[in-house]
């Protein structure tokens, strides 16, 4: 893995460069609206995979972290007109705290209880925000974007580049965790938690670290939502659809490697954008749900697993002429 490190960083730099280049050259604003959603799902699916894929704890509460990030940003913006950078970092901190709290409460339980608890966290937080007048309650809040900072000529382009930065950061963190002893420990938890615990792996600590990192990334991404929409409303910020998509993209791509969620998010995210525009958004949800079921049943290793099988088959065919 270390051998290919320079390739990864060159690739990341290229991706960021491309995003910046697009911001300078592409005139059509719709490109950035659609591109932002794909980047958003890259971050969410990658972050989901840190806990869900490596440790095998299925988080249905991506929406909880995402929405918390969004509302942390709204609160800062409304109370102190905080700049975007501060909004993002504060949201990440709040997300990390939420990850610590929710994880500490439920990560000692078996997987299924953790999953249900994360749905509960999402709904409880959504209800609190719905009853909170200051941030708009259930009707939502219209936000006036501040003037855009110099190198960019429109706000959406700036947010797009920030999202690209977050996406690279998320993938880099996931890749680091996967290669480090943390990832090794998490995989031990996934394969046999009891055995891992009794051979001295600090399972709870590792799961908490994964939950904190994953929560911070999800919330950081959520903090961009209010400025992207220039509007925020609880039922879309805490939506179960966000949770389902993040989970589906990671599983469809393949959960065992950091590149899986990336591939899943790019493929499904792009398809979703096309289907939503050309056919209907309900059908788009059906496609995501259906693909999730199909992959879980037929190709549990995701697209990565399919590619690996195909490669092995080709190799064995070449082996015996």
């Amino acid at each position: 893995m270390r051998r290919h490190s320079w390739r990864f960083w060159i690739g990341s730099a290229c991706a960021l460069g491309l995003a910046a280049l697009a911001a300078v050259s592409v005139k059509n604003e719709y490109f950035f609206f659609a591109g932002f959603v794909v980047l958003q799902f890259i971050v969410l699916a990658t972050a989901w995979n840190i806990l869900g894929g490596y440790a095998g704890y299925v988080n249905f509460g991506t929406g909880a972290f995402f929405g918390t990030g969004a509302y942390a940003a709204v609160l800062l913006f409304k109370a102190a007109s905080a700049p975007l950078a501060l909004q993002v970092s504060a949201a990440a901190a709040v997300g990390a705290l939420l990850g610590l709290g929710a994880g500490w409460l439920t990560l000692r339980l078996r997987g299924i209880f953790f999953s249900i608890a994360t749905v509960a966290v999402a709904i409880v937080l959504e209800t609190v925000v719905m009853n909170w007048r200051y941030v708009g309650g259930s009707t939502g809040l219209q936000l006036l974007r501040p003037p855009v900072l110099p190198p960019f000529d429109s706000y959406i382009k700036m947010i797009f580049v920030v999202a690209a930065g977050l996406a690279v950061l998320a993938v880099a963190i996931a890749r680091y965790i996967e290669g480090s002893w943390i990832g090794l420990g998490l995989r031990a938890v996934r394969d046999n938690e009891g055995a891992a615990e009794s051979s001295g792996v600090p399972t709870l600590k590792l799961k908490l670290v994964a939950c904190i990192v994953s929560g911070a990334l999800m919330s950081a991404m959520g903090s961009l939502l209010p400025m992207y929409m220039s509007f925020v409303e609880p039922s879309s910020a805490f939506s179960l659809y966000i949770s389902a998509s993040a989970l589906a993209m990671a599983i469809i791509g393949g959960t065992s490697h950091w590149v899986g969620p990336l591939i899943g998010a790019i493929l499904i995210g792009t398809t979703e954008q096309i289907v939503t525009v050309t056919i209907s958004s309900e059908l788009n949800v059906l496609v995501v749900g259906g693909l999730l079921v199909l992959f879980v049943v037929l190709a549990p290793q995701g697209l990565l697993g399919l590619a690996e099988t195909a490669r092995l088959r080709l190799a064995s065919r070449r082996g015996k002429p």
Binding site: G56, S115, I116, M130, E282, L292, V297
Partner: protein, 290 residues
């Protein structure tokens, strides 16, 4: 502002509501509590039952009768679902739990979206002579539809509790929940018993779905809020106990009703999820479990 009558009304309404919650949760108490299947699709199956009742009710059929007619269909559906789950996940070990959870989550998502595509996002309801009427005893008012739910819940709980303790198959179901290997050694087939029990749980959910649409209008996304309610009841009950399910349902119903009276409807949906988090954090084996 605070009066005794108001509280009494809230408690009575809560008891009725609690019985209704018991009825919608008792299927999950079997499939998740006893059989240990991570059946997150249970609330979606309830909503599916409610829409089935709606379709039959449109032909002029009584909703409870419609629920009973749907039961055999759902029984087969449940058997199919368990068979599929067993063949694809439970038997082949690798990552079975994660995949099982994701599978049922995907199924519930698909059910919801298919219902949206067929029926739209509007609320649907059924008509029957007992919907909309009510009884009053002095200051306490009880809507008839809640009394129907109350009666059905008691009947379902008693029937299932008797079935599980008195009949041979019922005892086998509890045995498979306790020690699958021992059952296999005695020459019984645990998979067939689990399959039967899962079918039964799904059939009960069809009837509960009929209650769901009797008690109030349904919409395809209703299953989300019932994830909290049903799992809250089952976890609170201590997994797999039928009488515990009734007590837990009553606890949830009364708490929700009191919160509704004191703080308003916008907070009441958080009660079940809050209670669920509390139980998971403090006493994960449930209030009425061992």
């Amino acid at each position: 502002m605070f009066s005794f009558d108001l509280l009494l009304n809230a408690v009575v309404a809560g008891v009725l509501l609690g019985c209704f919650y018991t009825a919608v949760s008792i299927g999950l108490s079997m499939s998740f509590g006893l059989l240990d299947v991570p059946n997150i699709a249970h609330p979606a199956v309830l909503v599916l039952g409610a829409y089935g009742t709606f379709l039959l009710g449109r032909q002029g059929m009584d909703p409870i009768l419609a629920g009973v007619i749907l039961m055999p269909v759902f029984f087969l559906l449940g058997i199919g679902m368990y068979r599929f789950y067993y063949e694809t996940f439970a038997r082949r070990g690798a990552n079975a739990e994660l995949r099982g959870i994701a599978f049922f989550f995907g199924v519930s998502f698909v059910i919801e979206v298919v219902l949206i595509l067929i029926f739209g996002v509007d609320q649907r309801m059924v008509e029957a002579s007992y919907i909309g009427r009510g009884l009053s005893f002095g200051e306490v008012r009880m809507p008839m539809r809640m009394l129907v739910a109350f009666g059905m819940a008691i009947a379902l709980t008693v029937c299932l509790a008797l079935y599980l303790t008195k009949t041979f198959t019922g005892r086998a179901i509890r045995a498979v929940a306790q020690d699958e290997a021992a059952l296999r050694l005695m020459g019984a087939n645990p998979v067939r018993i689990k399959q039967w029990a899962f079918g039964l749980a799904t059939a009960v959910s069809a009837l509960a779905g009929a209650l769901l649409i009797i008690v109030g209008p349904v919409e395809p996304s209703l299953d989300r809020i019932y994830i909290g309610r049903t799992f809250c009841v089952v976890v609170l009950a201590g997994l797999g106990s039928m009488t515990g399910t009734l007590l837990a349902g009553l606890t949830l119903g009364v708490s929700e009703s009191i919160v509704l009276t004191m703080f308003g409807a916008s907070w009441s949906q958080a009660v079940s999820f809050g209670l669920l988090l509390l139980v998971l954090g403090v006493r994960p084996q449930g209030m009425f479990g061992k």
